[in-house]
C-alpha cells in the first residue's frame, strides 16, 4: 500500500525544487561564478527528479516490509527495485541526456549517481542493525576500515590515469642537438616543447572548448620575433580582448628562463607552422565564417573600435554603430542590393587597401592592412553583412540550412536518437 500522504508531500517538494531551480538558474547575475545556466541543465535536473518520483512510487509501497517472507522480499527487490526502478531511471536519463548529445560515459555517470541515490533512499528505511559491543565491535570496526581502504583505493584505480613514463621522459628533457636541425625537425621538437611546457592548458591549436588564452590557430600572432617576444615577455604586448585585469597577467613570464634558446626557436617555428596551416585566404571568406558566432563577435569588436587605440579608426565612426552612416560619403551597409553585388575579393580589397575615386585619388575610406590582420578583416566583413545587410546573399538561407545540417551531424547522439 502506498502512503498517499507521504507521497503527496514528496511530490509537492519535488515540484517546489523544480520551480526553484528553473527560476534560480534563469536569473543572469552577470557573474562567471553563478547565474543563468542553459536549459539542458534544468531539463536534466527535471529528469533526475522524475527518477526520484519513481523511486518514491516504488519505495512507498513498502515492498520490503516484514509482512513478506524473505524470498518474497528478495523477489520484490529484484522485480520492482532492480528491474523497474533501476530500469526506469536508466531509460529516462538515457533518453533525456541522449537528446542533448551527451556521450554515453557522461550519461552513465548521472545514471550511477541516480542509482546510488535510490539505494540510499532504500537504506534510509531499513531496519536498524544489531547492537554490537566489546571485541566484536572492535573487530567489526577494523573490518569496516579495511572495506573503506579497499573502496577508496579502487576509486583511485578506476578513475583515468596518465602514464608516469611520459612524466619521467619529460624530466629528462633530452631533445637532441638542434643547432643544425632542419625545419621539419624544429617543428616537431617545437610541438614537443609546446606539450611539455603545457602551453595547451591555455591555448588551443585547433577547434575545441574555449580556453583561457587565445587560440593560436585563429589569432594573428605575428612573425617569428613577435611570437618570441610574446613568450619571453608576455606582458609587453597584450592582445586585445585579453587585457582584462583578471586575465592580463595570466601568461607566466618565466618561460624565457625555462625554455632553452634552441628549444624556444623550435617552439616559434612550431607556432608559425600552426598559424600557417590555418592560412587565411584573401579572395574568399573562409568557410563557415559568414554565420560563425565567434567570428561575428570579433567582427563587432573591430567594427566598434574595441581593437584600436584610436577610436576614430573604428568603422562605426563613419558608418554608424547601427549601420546608419554618420557621413554622407560613407557607404550605407543596409543597401542590401549593392552589398550583394560585391564579390568577396572586392570587399576584402576595399578593406585592405581602401577605396579610391574615379581619378584614382584616395577617399576617406583608408586601408586597414596595417591595423587589421587578414582574419580580422574577414571578421569585420562578416559582421557587417550579418548585422546590416541581412546576411550574405546565398549564405543567409543556404548557409543557415547548411549550418543546421552541419550541426545535426556535429551533435552526436546515442541510440535511439541516432536513428532519427
Amino acid at each position: 500500500m502506498i502512503n498517499k500522504k507521504g507521497l503527496r508531500q514528496k511530490v509537492f517538494w519535488l515540484v517546489f525544487f523544480n520551480l526553484f531551480i528553473w527560476i534560480l538558474c534563469s536569473i543572469d547575475l552577470k557573474t562567471s561564478l553563478v547565474g543563468a545556466l542553459p536549459a539542458v541543465f534544468k531539463v536534466v535536473f527535471t529528469a533526475f527528479s522524475l527518477c526520484g518520483l519513481i523511486m518514491f512510487l516504488i519505495h512507498d509501497r513498502n515492498l520490503l516490509s516484514d509482512e513478506y517472507s524473505v524470498p518474497k522480499r528478495l523477489f520484490h527487490f529484484f522485480l520492482y527495485y532492480f528491474l523497474v526502478g533501476f530500469g526506469a531511471i536508466f531509460v529516462i536519463l538515457w533518453l533525456t541526456m541522449g537528446y542533448f548529445g551527451f556521450y554515453p560515459v557522461f550519461i552513465w555517470t548521472v545514471v550511477i549517481y541516480a542509482w546510488l541515490g535510490f539505494l540510499v533512499i532504500v537504506a534510509m528505511d531499513l531496519k536498524p542493525i544489531k547492537e554490537q559491543s566489546g571485541l566484536k565491535g572492535f573487530t567489526n570496526m577494523v573490518v569496516f576500515y579495511l572495506v573503506l581502504c579497499g573502496g577508496f583505493t579502487a576509486m583511485g584505480y578506476a578513475l583515468p590515469q596518465y602514464d608516469p613514463q611520459y612524466e619521467i621522459k619529460k624530466l629528462k628533457g633530452d631533445r637532441g642537438d638542434l643547432s643544425n636541425a632542419d625545419q621539419a625537425t624544429l617543428i616537431k621538437v617545437g610541438g614537443d616543447v609546446f606539450r611539455d611546457f603545457e602551453c595547451f592548458n591555455c591555448h588551443n591549436t585547433s577547434d575545441g572548448i574555449k580556453k583561457r588564452g587565445p587560440n593560436l590557430a585563429k589569432t594573428d600572432i605575428g612573425g617569428g620575433e613577435n611570437i618570441k617576444e610574446n613568450i619571453v615577455d608576455p606582458q609587453k604586448t597584450i592582445s586585445k580582448g585579453y587585457d582584462l585585469p583578471k586575465i592580463r597577467n595570466a601568461m607566466p613570464d618565466y618561460y624565457g628562463k625555462q625554455i632553452k634558446p634552441l628549444e624556444l626557436k623550435a617552439l616559434v617555428e612550431y607556432l608559425k607552422n600552426v598559424r600557417a596551416e590555418a592560412t587565411i585566404s584573401t579572395k574568399k571568406m573562409p568557410e563557415g565564417w559568414w554565420n560563425d558566432a565567434g567570428v561575428l563577435a570579433e567582427g563587432k569588436n573591430i567594427f566598434e573600435g574595441k581593437m584600436f587605440d584610436n577610436p576614430k579608426s573604428a568603422c562605426m565612426s563613419c558608418h554608424g554603430k547601427e549601420g546608419v552612416p554618420l557621413s554622407q560619403k560613407a557607404r550605407d551597409f543596409r543597401d542590401k542590393k549593392y552589398m550583394d553585388s560585391l564579390s568577396d575579393k572586392k570587399i576584402f580589397d576595399s578593406v585592405t587597401n581602401g577605396i579610391f575615386d574615379k581619378d584614382g585619388e584616395p577617399t576617406l575610406m583608408g586601408g586597414y592592412s596595417l591595423l587589421l590582420s587578414p582574419a580580422q578583416r574577414w571578421q569585420v566583413i562578416a559582421y557587417i553583412f550579418k548585422e546590416f545587410a541581412g546576411g550574405r546573399k546565398g549564405f543567409e538561407v543556404a548557409q543557415s540550412a547548411a549550418e543546421k545540417e552541419k550541426n545535426k551531424k556535429k551533435l552526436w547522439r546515442p541510440w535511439p536518437w541516432s536513428l532519427l
Binding site: 541543465f41 551527451f102 541515490g117 570496526m141 583511485g156 608516469p164 583561457r212
Partner: protein
C-alpha cells in the same frame, strides 16, 4: 579479568596489524622510484632504502600533519565544549571536554615525535632544499617556532593537569588557559604555513624580498583560513570517531547514551565547519590562479584534475553521509516524522548536485590526450562544456550547502522540539560517523599531496628545482594507495589511543571513582 585479557588481545592484534602494514607500504610505493632510478641522474646524497626519499617524506609529513591538525583542531572543540558547560551547566559537555583532552595529551607527544622525525629526514634526504628554506625563514625556525611550541606545550599540559584544581569558581581561569592554548596553536599554524605556502608561491617580481614578503606570500592567508576551518572540521569528525568507537565498544546503555550524544555534537561541529569550507577552497584556488594561472590549470584541468574528481566524489559523499546521519538521528526523536518528506527529497537534489560537481570535462587524466590515449566520446561536446565550468559547479555546490544547512536546522529543530531517546540510535549511524572521519582524513591527505605535487618538479616553485629521480608527478592510483595506507595506519594508531585513554580498565575505574568530571 576478562576486560584485561580483552585489552591484551586488542593490543597484540593492533601491533600485529602495524607490523603487517609496514610491509604493505613497501611494494607499490617504491615501484616507480626503482623503475626510474636508472633513467634519471640521482642527485640526493642518501637514498632511503625500501621506500625511496619522496615516499618516506610523504608518509612522515602526512602523519605529522594529521596529529598536528588534531592538536590544533581539537582544542578549539574542547574549549567550546567547556564554555558550553559553564553556560548550560550540562556536565556532559565537561566530560566530553575532559575525555578529548586526555587523548589530546597523548597525541601531543606523537605530534612532536613525528615532527622531529620529519625534520631529521628532510635534512638528511634533501639537504640543499632544507638549507634554502632554513635560510629564508630562519626567524621562524630559530625564534618563533621554538618559542610558540614551548609555550603551547606549557599551556597544553597546564590545561590538562589543572582540570581538577581549577574547577568550581575557578573554572573561568581554566577556560582562559584553554583560550590562550588555542591562540598559540593558531599562531603556530600560521607561522608554519609561511614556509609551506612559500614553497608554492614565493614572491615574484621583487628583487630582494624581505622576510615579511616571504611570509605574506600569495597563498599564505588563504592557506591559513582554509587550514583553520579544515582543522575545525577535522576536530569535529575526530570526535565523531571517538564517539563511534566508544559507542560500539560500550556494553551498557548509560555509556551508549553519552557516546550517542557525543557523536551528535561532533557531527554538528564537523558539518557546521564543513559547509563554508568549499568557499575557503575556492578563495585559495583563486589566489593560485592569480599567482600563476598555469599552476591552477595544472591542478584543476591537467595532471591533477582526476585528483580533484576524486575530491568531487568525496565531498559529495561527505555531505550525503552527514545528511544520512541526520536522518538516522531523527529516527530516535519523537515528533520528527514531519520533516521526513522534505529530507528525502533533499537527498535527490543533493545527489544531483554531487553528480554535477563531479562531472569532468573529459574522462582522461590530462588536459590534452597523450599519445595512445583513447579520447573518442570521452570529452564533453562544446555545447555542453559549461557542465565542467565554475558556473555549473558553483550552482551545484550552493545547492549542496544550502540543503545540508536546511537539514541541519531541521535536525536541530527536531532535537529542540521533540524528545530524544539518547543511546537508541541505529548502530549503523556509528559506522557513518567513522565513514565521515575516514573520508575527511583521506581527503585531507590527498589534497595535502596535491598542494605539494602542483609544484611539479620544483621544491620551491621556480626557485629551487627538484632534481631527484622522484620529481615527476605520480598517478592518482599510486597516490591513492599511499593515502589509503597512511589513513589506515593513522586510524589504527588513533583507535589504539582511544582505547588506551578511554577504555582501559584503569580509565573505567577512574571514571567510576572520580568526582570530576561526572557523567550526566
Amino acid at each position: 579479568m576478562d576486560q584485561q585479557n580483552r585489552g591484551k588481545k586488542i593490543t597484540l592484534f593492533s601491533l600485529f596489524l602495524l607490523f603487517l602494514l609496514s610491509f604493505l607500504f613497501k611494494g607499490p610505493m617504491n615501484s616507480y622510484a626503482l623503475e626510474i632510478a636508472s633513467s634519471v641522474p640521482e642527485t640526493s646524497p642518501i637514498t632511503m632504502p625500501l621506500f625511496g626519499n619522496r615516499t618516506i617524506i610523504w608518509i612522515i609529513a602526512q602523519f605529522h600533519i594529521l596529529f598536528a591538525s588534531f592538536i590544533l583542531g581539537v582544542p578549539l572543540f574542547v574549549v567550546i565544549s567547556e564554555f558550553m558547560f559553564i553556560k548550560t551547566g550540562n556536565e556532559k559537555y565537561e566530560r566530553l571536554a575532559y575525555d578529548i583532552t586526555k587523548i589530546l595529551a597523548m597525541c601531543y607527544s606523537l605530534t612532536a615525535l613525528s615532527g622531529a622525525t620529519f625534520a631529521l629526514l628532510l635534512f638528511g634526504l634533501y639537504p640543499h632544499f632544507s638549507s634554502y628554506i632554513l635560510g629564508k625563514f630562519s626567524s621562524i625556525w630559530l625564534l618563533f617556532y621554538p618559542f610558540l611550541f614551548t609555550l603551547e606545550t606549557l599551556l597544553m599540559y597546564t590545561y590538562y593537569y589543572s582540570w581538577r584544581s581549577l574547577s568550581g569558581n575557578k573554572k573561568k581561569w581554566h577556560l582562559l588557559i584553554g583560550f590562550f592554548l588555542n591562540i598559540v596553536g593558531i599562531a603556530t599554524l600560521f607561522a608554519m604555513d609561511a614556509p609551506a605556502s612559500y614553497m608554492l608561491t614565493p614572491p615574484r617580481g621583487l628583487e630582494n624580498p624581505t622576510f615579511w614578503d616571504n611570509v605574506n606570500n600569495f597563498t599564505w592567508l588563504p592557506l591559513n583560513f582554509h587550514r583553520l576551518l579544515g582543522n575545525l572540521t577535522f576536530g569535529g569528525y575526530m570526535v565523531c570517531i571517538i564517539a563511534a568507537n566508544m559507542f560500539i565498544w560500550s556494553d551498557n546503555q548509560k555509556d551508549r547514551e553519552y557516546y550517542d550524544w557525543q557523536g551528535y555534537i561532533g557531527n554538528m561541529i564537523g558539518v557546521g565547519a564543513m559547509i563554508p569550507l568549499p568557499i575557503m577552497g575556492y578563495i585559495y584556488s583563486l589566489e593560485l590562479y592569480m599567482y600563476d594561472a598555469s599552476v591552477g590549470i595544472y591542478m584543476m584541468s591537467d595532471r591533477l584534475s582526476m585528483f580533484f574528481e576524486t575530491q568531487g566524489i568525496l565531498v559529495g559523499l561527505l555531505f550525503v553521509a552527514s545528511n544520512f546521519y541526520f536522518w538516522l538521528s531523527m529516527q530516535r526523536i519523537t515528533g520528527a516524522d514531519r520533516f521526513a518528506s522534505v529530507i528525502k527529497v533533499n537527498f535527490i537534489v543533493i545527489f544531483f548536485s554531487a553528480c554535477i560537481w563531479f562531472i569532468p570535462r573529459h574522462y582522461f587524466a590530462t588536459m590534452v590526450a597523450e599519445p595512445g590515449m583513447e579520447t573518442t566520446h570521452l570529452e564533453l561536446p562544446a555545447h555542453l562544456g559549461f557542465f565542467a565550468l565554475m558556473k555549473a559547479k558553483n550552482t551545484a555546490a550552493i545547492f549542496i550547502c544550502l540543503l545540508t544547512l536546511e537539514n541541519y536546522f531541521l535536525y536541530k529543530r527536531a532535537v529542540k522540539t521533540g524528545t530524544v531517546a539518547w543511546g537508541k540510535i541505529n548502530p549503523l549511524s556509528q559506522y557513518l560517523l567513522v565513514f565521515l572521519g575516514f573520508c575527511d582524513i583521506w581527503l585531507m591527505n590527498l589534497m595535502g599531496a596535491v598542494r605539494e605535487l602542483v609544484r611539479k618538479n620544483w621544491h620551491v616553485y621556480m626557485q629551487v628545482k627538484d632534481t631527484t629521480p622522484e620529481a615527476y608527478t605520480p598517478t592518482l592510483f599510486h597516490s591513492s594507495i599511499l593515502t589509503t595506507q597512511i589513513t589506515f595506519i593513522f586510524f589504527i594508531i588513533f583507535t589504539f589511543i582511544i582505547w588506551l585513554c578511554l577504555k582501559t580498565p584503569q580509565h573505567q575505574t577512574q571514571l567510576a571513582t572520580q568526582t570530576l568530571p561526572k557523567e550526566s
